[in-house]
């Protein structure tokens, strides 16, 4: 595997871990609530318990939802969409990492002057639709809605600033990826690594509230 392939795998793995820990956290909260009430069906904090929770829904009382403010929520959603665009531009613009699935496989689009923005808009539309689709999940799965993701976590101001700061980081990552696309088939290893690190840092920041709470829950 090349460095870029490893980096691709690391980003995918990081997002998967974040999703897993988020569900874990929700299951943990559910269990604590049931314990306080002294009844109801408990959900085990185990792989099988999480699987069961996903299949039946993790009922988190809406009372636990903490609105984080429209500005922050809008920025957080924008950051996730930007992260998705940065991810697409870094790995699926040129044939360097995924030779069979990239923009340059569509000859007419790659040859067009506005091929890059077309590709980017496609990614944005896909990201927006995905977020909206998760919002349609039933209440049992409300904690999986990306629009409400941070509403189940306590976020400090520092956290919010950090999440907001991912936007310029992701802008730089996208800018570098576009530049790498314009010079292809030439390549710049340094720029590729920088774009990757910026994307990686952004994703870590975006899932950091989840990681923090799961660590607090465990320890």
């Amino acid at each position: 595997m090349t460095i870029m392939e490893i980096s691709l795998a690391s980003i995918v793995a990081l997002i998967a871990i974040g999703a897993f820990l988020h569900i874990w956290n929700m299951c943990h909260i559910n269990m604590e609530l049931e314990k306080d009430r002294g009844g109801g069906e408990k959900i085990e904090i185990s792989l099988s318990g999480i699987k069961k929770a996903i299949s039946r829904g993790v009922f988190i009382p809406r009372g636990l939802f903490i609105p984080q403010g429209s500005v922050f929520n809008g920025m957080a959603l924008s950051a996730w969409i930007l992260a998705f665009v940065a991810f697409g531009y870094l790995y699926f613009l040129t044939p360097l990492v995924v030779p069979d699935y990239n923009l340059f496989q569509i000859s007419s689009l790659a040859s067009w002057s506005f091929g890059f923005i077309t590709f980017g808009l496609f990614l944005v539309v896909f990201g927006v639709l995905f977020i909206l689709a998760t919002n349609k999940l039933p209440d049992g799965y409300c904690c999986i809605r990306l629009t409400e993701l941070y509403g189940y976590y306590f976020l400090s101001k520092m956290h919010k600033r950090a999440i907001a700061s991912t936007i310029p980081l992701l802008w730089i990552s996208i800018f570098i990826s576009v530049h790498l696309g314009t010079i292809y088939p030439l390549a710049s290893g340094v720029l590729s690594v920088i774009a990757y690190l910026l994307l990686l840092a952004s994703v870590i920041i975006l899932i950091s509230p989840i990681i923090k709470q799961s660590m607090e829950g465990v320890f």
Binding site: N73, L77, F116, F175, V178
Partner: protein, 488 residues
């Protein structure tokens, strides 16, 4: 006294010597005197030698004159027939493998022999002379087969069951038979006794389960020669009328006959035939007819398409191949391409997005000239045979070179980068080669760079700048729609 005694002794020796010398002469004269005692012609003289012809004359004379000694001489010279009443006639059959098929092709390997049972004790056996006879398709009578006589000596039998098998090695297949049908074999036998006139195996009963036959009947069929249809080819297929054309095919004849192969060329309603003898080989033989050897086409045939087929004849069967197509004769030249086509570009970096210029020079071969339409094609691995949409039509003359230029052509795409491109022109009149287009000409390698614009090029800024803003707007729009940040 002594002298007298010596003379007496010498005389006695001389007398004795004379007697010794004279004795045989006398006896010899006596030996010859018998036969001529009635003839008297030799005069009883002793020096004439008896020859066989003279002796024969004597015998005839004695027989005629009933000489009493003639009977004695006859008795003396006669040798009794040494066969006895105990001698039994040996039984002879034609032998053929009982497991072998009696329907064979002319090329099948066969083995024909003689099976002999001879119960006579070895002391009275006689050598047997075996002659194989056959009656082929169309023959009225048996005739000697092309097989050497076989001799079975008295000691060549199995000691216990007194039989033997002898193969006729010269008959190994029926390739020598020029026909199909029933072939009969029998064996003519001789043991020197002359007791049986035309002694042969015809009347003896068959034992097919053992492979013994009085008359062996085999059904022989011919393997006709065949042209392998898939091997039929014409090289080249598209030619000028006076170019050399080779018709090629492969012939197979399992019987390995010499075959008459005829090429039939069909020109409209006429047929031209060309025949050659082809000795066949174990596998397949190459058959080649070339216009180098045969005059098949004339100038008037230009622009026409032809068909052909082969027939094969081995003097027994005739087979025909499938119809083959070709050659296609090119039309007579109408234009001349002058020089080589050219391609150029303003930027030597040769990016795929550059504009290229292609040109070709032509003039008419017809004094009156004509209207010529030229099209341009480019070739890359990703876009093979891409036609530039705008063809050019111009009037060409026989004394003026007309240039067809395709300017500002952008034939390539991003995927063509880092590939070598080729190009050619097609036209609606035949050139001097009888073709309607040039061969492919190699251009050069297209620059590997894929994206035309740099990162700070205005076009590229229009590509990436919105991508920094649009996702922000997307997030804000979702929040404005759903109001999840303010929800209580």
């Amino acid at each position: 006294m002594k002298t007298l005694k010596l003379y007496t002794t010498v005389f006695a020796i001389l007398v004795c010597f004379s007697l010794v010398i004279a004795g045989p002469v006398y006896g010899q004269n006596r030996g010859y005197s018998g036969p001529i005692e009635n003839g008297g012609s030799s005069g009883g003289g002793g020096s004439k030698k008896l020859t066989s012809s003279a002796f024969l004359n004597y015998l005839e004379d004695w027989k005629e004159h009933q000489n009493p000694n003639y009977k004695k001489i006859q008795k003396l010279l006669n040798k009794e027939d040494y066969t006895t009443t105990a001698y039994k006639t040996p039984s002879v059959w034609v032998y053929y493998d009982p497991n072998g098929s009696k329907t064979v092709s002319r090329s099948d390997e066969i083995e024909i022999g003689a099976y002999i049972e001879n119960t006579n004790p070895i002391e009275i056996r006689r050598a047997l002379y075996l002659y194989l006879e056959e009656k082929g398709p169309g023959d009225k009578d048996f005739k000697p087969a092309k097989a050497e006589r076989q001799i079975i000596q008295v000691n060549e039998y199995d000691e216990k069951i007194n039989n033997t098998i002898r193969i006729f090695p010269d008959i190994s297949s029926f390739g020598y038979i020029k026909g199909e049908g029933e072939v009969l074999f029998r064996i003519v036998i001789s043991d020197g006794t002359k007791r049986i006139s035309k002694w042969n195996s015809s009347n003896i009963s068959d034992h097919p389960e053992l492979g013994y036959y009085g008359v062996l009947k085999l059904k022989v069929h011919n393997n006709p020669p065949k042209i392998n249809n898939s091997s039929m080819s014409i090289e080249p297929k598209l030619v000028k009328w006076d170019d050399y054309v080779e018709y090629r095919a492969q012939l197979k004849d399992e019987d390995r006959d010499t075959v008459n192969v005829t090429l039939h060329v069909y020109k409209n309603n006429t047929e031209l035939n060309f025949t050659k003898l082809a000795p066949t080989e174990p596998d397949e033989s190459d058959i080649v007819f070339s216009t180098e050897d045969y005059n098949i086409f004339v100038e008037a045939d230009s622009g026409k398409n032809f068909t052909y087929r082969y027939s094969c004849d081995d003097d027994i069967d005739t087979t025909w191949s499938e119809i083959g197509y070709g050659p296609n004769l090119k039309r007579t030249a109408e234009i001349t391409i002058v020089g080589k086509p050219k391609v150029s570009t303003t930027d030597p970096k040769n990016y795929w997005w550059q504009e290229y210029s292609f040109s070709i020079d032509a003039k008419s071969k017809n004094p009156e000239g004509g209207s010529l339409t030229v099209s341009l094609y480019t070739y890359t691995p990703e876009n093979y045979g891409k036609m530039w949409p705008e063809s050019q039509t111009k009037q060409v003359y026989n004394d003026n070179v007309t240039t067809f230029t395709f300017e500002d052509v952008k034939p390539f795409e991003a995927l063509d980068s880092n590939q070598t491109f080729y190009y050619n022109f097609t036209y609606d009149m035949a050139d001097e080669s009888g073709d309607y287009g040039t061969p492919l000409f190699e251009g050069w390698k297209i620059n590997p760079r894929l994206i035309k614009y740099g990162i700070i090029d205005p076009i590229m800024i229009l590509n990436w700048l919105p991508m920094l803003i649009v996702p922000l707007l997307g997030g804000i729009l979702i929040e404005r729609l759903l109001r999840k940040g303010d929800e209580v």
